[in-house]
């Protein structure tokens, strides 16, 4: 990307941000009404768990959380709060939603990030190998492997990884986010946390590994037949240099598009994987919020995910314009 394109990119970012506002508000209102379709609310869930709630305590709970107000008024109140940059308070945790999400967000982001890195690194490497040996045994074996990764559900992969690496081999912990009571600092703490992340990130990644491997393979095989690759060979470049500089880079453009679309999907997948590995992330918070009918928390998470999708899409546009100069940043 040359410097002369920088101002245009900044302009694109500003416009994307402006366009995001009505989109996100629309998503919120839609979700607000969708959630009303589920039977029960936070007060019902709390009272049910308590086991011995009377009609009076239930009514008191409802009025305390504002759940007895008309739906339109509840929505108005929520949007009013939002306009003042408040996500409301969770009746269940009796904590501001922003704090709850803030505490879990870094865990989920690092899990998703690592999973995406795993998926891209392993997927592109496998895809490049498959393309290089297309039609030969290496390609066949890896294709079967990719098919397995694609079709096995992530919770089962997670459980099997735990059985192999934690129970049998004892290399990695079975779950959690860090060694409790170890009080590590600096690099030790980072390494400790990394050990806890490997298995969940891997089980989240394997499905996408399969997709990126197939995509990379097919794109590379297509690019390889293009005229400019023959030009590269005519220059006297080695097969490795031709693949690296003239095939892989061109083939990666569709892969980045897919990875962008998948980043949002990773968040959904995180719900399952976080539960399997007792990972204290947003996915599990969302799951708990659904079970407890804690709609403020759920709306907060949905707001965050939609913002994430918008941000990722914008980032992908910029990344693509950098990879492929034919694409203008609009």
């Amino acid at each position: 990307m040359t410097m002369r394109r920088l101002p245009r990119i900044l302009k694109a970012v500003r416009r994307t941000a402006l366009q995001a506002v009505p989109t996100v508000i629309g998503i919120l209102i839609l979700n607000f009404f969708l959630l009303r379709l589920t039977p029960g609310d936070a007060a019902d869930a709390l009272a049910g768990e308590a086991g011995a709630a009377t009609v009076e305590t239930l009514a008191a709970l409802k009025s305390k959380f504002g759940l007895d107000l008309p739906v339109a008024e509840q929505l108005g109140g929520y949007l009013w709060n939002l306009a003042h940059f408040s996500l409301g308070v969770s009746p269940r945790y009796n904590q501001p939603v922003a704090e709850l999400i803030g505490a879990r967000l870094p865990n989920t982001l690092s899990l998703m990030g690592l999973a995406l890195v795993f998926a891209l690194l392993i997927g592109i490497t496998l895809g490049a190998l498959m393309a290089t040996f297309a039609g030969r045994p290496t390609d066949r074996v890896l294709s079967v492997l990719a098919l397995l990764f694609y079709s096995i559900p992530s919770f089962w992969i997670g459980l099997m990884l735990i059985v192999l690496f934690s129970v049998k081999l004892g290399w990695l912990p079975t779950g959690g986010a860090e060694t409790i009571g170890a009080n590590l600092t600096g690099w030790d703490a980072v390494l400790d946390r990394a050990r806890y992340q490997i298995l969940p990130a891997l089980s989240l990644a394997l499905f996408y590994v399969a997709i990126y491997a197939r995509l990379t393979r097919d794109d590379m095989i297509e690019v390889r037949t293009q005229d400019h690759v023959r030009t590269a060979r005519a220059k006297g470049l080695s097969p490795f240099a031709v693949t690296r500089d003239h095939v892989l880079r061109n083939a990666l453009i569709p892969v980045t598009t897919m990875a962008g679309i998948h980043l949002a999907g990773l968040m959904g997948g995180a719900v399952v994987v976080e539960t399997v590995f007792s990972w204290p992330g947003l996915g599990r918070l969302a799951y708990e919020a659904v079970m407890g009918r804690d709609f403020h928390v759920l709306l907060g998470i949905l707001l965050l995910s939609s913002l994430l999708v918008v941000a990722v899409n914008a980032a992908i546009d910029i990344l693509q314009a950098w990879l492929d100069p034919r694409i203008e940043v609009r």
Binding site: H228, A234, G236, N250, R326
Partner: protein, 338 residues
């Protein structure tokens, strides 16, 4: 003078076909040789074979490609291993392809693509190679080369892209430049500019130039010598004055008769253009001369065996038994009368 490249009896085979058979061809340093033929005659495959860039399914079935390197040593490119071949490609022999639209990598700037070949063969640093690329873009007469070096292929016109291809090809001052229909995809006005540029570079760098084309107008203006191919074989090889002045092979004659001439005032309204009856497809499965099914002079002996290339004059080879015997008879007749 010993030729720069001496192709001897080259055959190129696919699993089910042999599109080039027993082709011999030479190009001397500083010489422009045109390889002429219609689509499917095997001329582009020949060009790719010289650089050993044949498609995966094709292989060199027989023959030698003797190339005289900078140190005067002669190597057979047909038997060279990949590593040695990579030192020849782009450095000693370079190629300009037919399609400037698709022959450049769309995601790299043209400066990077020129610099790449310089870095590879001359071991320049990234910065020095880019500076050299700008010089090369200037050499191929691209205006504002410093600014253009940062452009991507899609930002350039077809003619400009072909100039970039030429800059890549001549970057290491190759001994032989192969240009495979370099102007077919370009506007007529640009064609002459590109060919003039190739010709000037050939002179300045004393390269041999193998110009592959089906355009006889191009041949007439820029070639020193012409080899005519038909259905995978060379049928005539002559200096360009001889070929245009006194073509001998019936196919060459047919080609020349079929090309419209502006100076002759020929216009479609003045009558149909001459054509060679039939199509090249009739050459398939032909035992003898591949051109016999379309040839007005075909005799029984034409179908009996593949005609050998005979020298009818110094530097003039023809693969046609009928014309050769006529030419010899005339020569004898001239002797007897004289």
């Amino acid at each position: 003078m010993a030729p720069l490249i001496d192709v001897r009896d080259l055959s190129i085979a696919f699993p089910r076909a042999t599109p080039v058979r027993g082709l011999s061809l030479t190009v001397a340093a500083g010489e422009t040789v045109a390889l002429v033929g219609e689509s499917g005659s095997g001329k582009s495959l020949t060009a790719l074979a010289l650089m050993r860039l044949l498609p995966d399914a094709a292989r060199i079935a027989s023959g030698e490609i003797l190339f005289r390197g900078r140190d005067g040593a002669v190597t057979d490119l047909a038997g060279l291993d990949d590593r040695a071949l990579r030192r020849v490609r782009g450095r000693d022999i370079a190629m300009v392809f037919q399609e400037p639209m698709t022959s450049l990598n769309p995601v790299l700037s043209v400066g990077q693509q020129v610099a790449e070949v310089v870095r590879l063969h001359e071991g320049l640093s990234r910065r020095a190679a880019f500076a050299r690329a700008v010089e090369l873009l200037d050499l191929v007469r691209i205006p504002e080369p410093r600014r253009r070096a940062g452009d991507y292929p899609h930002e350039l016109s077809g003619g400009m892209r072909q100039r970039v291809m030429i800059a890549i090809a001549v970057a290491c001052a190759p001994r032989l430049l192969i240009a495979d229909e370099p102007t077919t995809a370009l506007d007529v006005t640009i064609q002459a500019q590109v060919l003039d540029l190739l010709d000037a570079l050939r002179r300045d760098l004393s390269m041999g130039l193998l110009l592959i084309t089906h355009d006889l107008g191009v041949v007439a203006e820029w070639a020193d010598r012409v080899a005519v191919m038909y259905a995978g074989r060379k049928v005539e090889d002559a200096p360009f004055e001889t070929l245009f002045g006194a073509p001998l092979h019936p196919y060459t004659r047919g080609l020349l008769a079929a090309s419209p001439r502006l100076d002759a005032g020929q216009h479609y309204s003045a009558g149909a253009l001459a054509e060679i009856a039939g199509s090249i497809a009739s050459a398939a499965g032909e035992e003898g001369c591949a051109f016999a099914p379309r040839c007005p002079n075909a005799r029984a002996l034409c179908r009996a065996a593949v005609p050998a290339l005979d020298a009818v004059a110094p530097g003039h080879l023809v693969a046609c038994p009928v014309t050769t015997s006529e030419a010899q008879r005339e020569a004898r007749h001239a002797l007897a009368v004289g």
